[in-house]
Symmetry: C2
Subunit: 394 residues, 2 copies
């Protein structure tokens, strides 16, 4: 017997609340779980003893979590210091927390791993389980991460719509910037919007390959000659061959971090200046991680399942694991679930596989499309094309 506490870490996703729903609905079924608490703003809420009672919420509110964006509990980006950990354990003891679930990415899994070890070492009986979450899809030892499928659907549909726009008014090189500082998965998804050869997106640049300025200008110029309107999709994290970010604003924030300068705007200015071609940039930014209309139903369901499974695993005396997703069947797609030791995912970072990028580093190979397509949960919208056969000239 004891209480359960769940906390969110890092940036929200369109389905992190769906995992929360899975946790709460599963926890209510477990007789050994007493109170079901949520920490406000991640580990900060743990340190401050700022909890809400998830067991006391209305059923409608818990159901509504599945279609509510961002984190309903609040999240944080606080990196814990070594003296924060004993304090956390004290709080757990004070509130009789015997089940702790942490829903986050690499950094959060590291925190989770340390908490699990600390509890074990100090002889306090509790179960600590990580619930995966990241739109970047960069956690190790899971086929993919909850949050990725929805971010993917957002990027694929947005790219398709942008291509329809650029195609119908082909007067510029349009450069869209996509999140994922170090991992190119969501940028790569834009390739799924290409209906046939010659359609946009024409060029795709991931952060896993060094960005070669001269090749980029050559490629843009060639596509402009061929298509008039050109659609380019780039990761916000592009770096040059020297490893330095392609664009930084020259501004340093309060924490001393360099502020990225908006790589799409930087590149569109480059196109105008060097090629004399009209260009513009789009940067949906955070909008790509909070869209409910473009949520993937597969992603939403999987997010629910990983939350529910985390509770069941904790109740089965498991601790120090993260829930993982496996691909049980390719066609029709079917997911399975497992557990991986937190120590194997903590702080490790999965990169976009190099063999899924083409030789020139400006496009994606079909293997990725096969990997990604089912995760978006539904086919892309079937926008029509008119029959453009010209009327015979008189």
């Amino acid at each position: 017997m004891g209480n359960l506490l769940i906390a969110h870490g890092g940036g929200p996703t369109p389905v992190i609340n769906s995992s929360l729903r899975g946790v709460v609905e599963q926890a209510k079924k477990q007789p050994q779980i007493g109170g079901i608490y949520g920490a406000r703003f991640g580990v900060e809420g743990v340190l401050n003893e700022a909890f809400i009672d998830l067991g006391a919420q209305s059923e409608a509110a818990i159901r509504g979590l599945s279609s509510t964006p961002a984190s309903a509990l609040g999240s944080c980006r606080r990196k814990l210091k070594s003296d924060d950990y004993p304090r956390i354990l004290d709080v757990f003891k004070k509130y009789d927390i015997r089940y702790f679930l942490y829903n986050g990415g690499n950094d959060s899994m590291d925190t989770c791993n340390k908490i699990a070890a600390l509890a074990k070492d100090s002889g306090y009986e509790m179960r600590v389980i990580g619930v995966p979450k990241t739109i970047d899809n960069d956690l190790m030892h899971t086929d993919h991460c909850p949050g990725f499928g929805s971010a993917a659907r957002y990027v694929a549909v947005s790219t398709l719509e942008l291509w329809k726009d650029v195609q119908s008014l082909p007067i510029h090189v349009c450069i869209m910037e996509v999140m994922g500082r170090n991992a190119g998965f969501i940028t790569a998804v834009s390739a799924l919007a290409r209906k046939s050869e010659g359609c946009g997106p024409h060029l795709i640049y991931l952060p896993e390959r060094p960005f070669i300025r001269e090749q980029f200008l050559e490629d843009v110029s060639a596509w402009h000659k061929r298509a008039g309107g050109v659609l380019v999709v780039v990761s916000e994290g592009l770096c040059g061959p020297d490893g330095a970010p392609l664009s930084d604003s020259g501004v340093v924030d309060g924490f001393g971090h360099k502020v990225p300068g908006g790589v799409s705007q930087h590149l569109s200015e480059l196109v105008i200046r060097e090629l004399g071609i009209k260009s513009r940039s789009e940067k949906p930014g955070l909008l790509g991680r909070c869209s409910i209309p473009l949520q993937s139903p597969v992603d939403r369901d999987e997010a629910y399942q990983v939350g529910a499974l985390a509770v069941r695993a904790a109740c089965e005396y498991k601790t120090g694991f993260m829930v993982s997703i496996t691909r049980e069947c390719e066609d029709p797609y079917r997911a399975g679930y497992g557990l991986v030791p937190l120590s194997e995912v903590a702080n490790a970072e999965r990169k976009f596989p190099d063999n899924w990028i083409n030789a020139r580093g400006n496009d994606i190979n079909p293997d990725f499309i096969k990997y990604c397509a089912p995760l978006m949960g539904a086919a892309l919208p079937d926008y029509i094309d008119l029959d453009l056969t010209p009327v015979k000239k008189l």
Copy 2:
């Protein structure tokens, strides 16, 4: 008897194809209309005699236009020169075009007006009708413009989702940039996302008021102290008190036009530098004018009706008019349709009413919300909020 030709001018909207569907389906019912042609890429298609046969398209394709973004015909931004007009009349005569519909904004209505006058003066019997279209909502003598309601829905839902994100991870000042270079209507729509006092968007800046740097920094700083996470929405067209664009990239494009520098990025750098607060920018840009998942059903239906009415008006011997929308009933909202002389809308520009902006120039008055709400076609998504009552501290 004679043929009908329709062309698109200027930037696409999420419902310009819905107007096209209205035109085609209505034209098929009119025995006096022979061929139904569409010009490829606006007036360029007229000059080049590049037409497609809209009467020969499948019914499914025509139906599918309502849920297909951008312009299915193609559009252009070509400003006609005086010697282009006689050429256009020659093409009309050659193809026996007796009904010409031009679907566009202010510039297109000016073109349309000149074509109508030229046909009349030269004694060539034809009817010329303008079909309104612009996400900017800046056409005169119509309650609102087809395209605005869908762009409004995009901005309102995006602002709401962004606020959920910022609220759940309140670590920065988030500045979203919205289209509408000279008219603030779609930027103002963001106010509809504010569920209650204190919720985002906290600050809204339209291009109709000069942007005062010091006031902006004061306002951001005050909201940051109060809320932690701050959401600001700005128009891409903000200018300082001297009338100069707030931010230009220092780059001049092939046509000699100054390229805007991304006002949201400029302002977020200003916040970091002057206030030492973490800040970031989002610029969905063109995505705001091509989203089908966020299309307004009211807007889609009205766009269909203005297309159909343009055909009926032309068949009733009307020429030199633009179809307008009137507000027949406020509650429940019901639209009516009329005709206004093209001469009265050509080149005129409707500004956001000054009395709908607050005194400090950083927010919108409730009258605008009442005006705008029904045009979005449905209530905003009902995202849930958990009961955040703190668990009693032990």
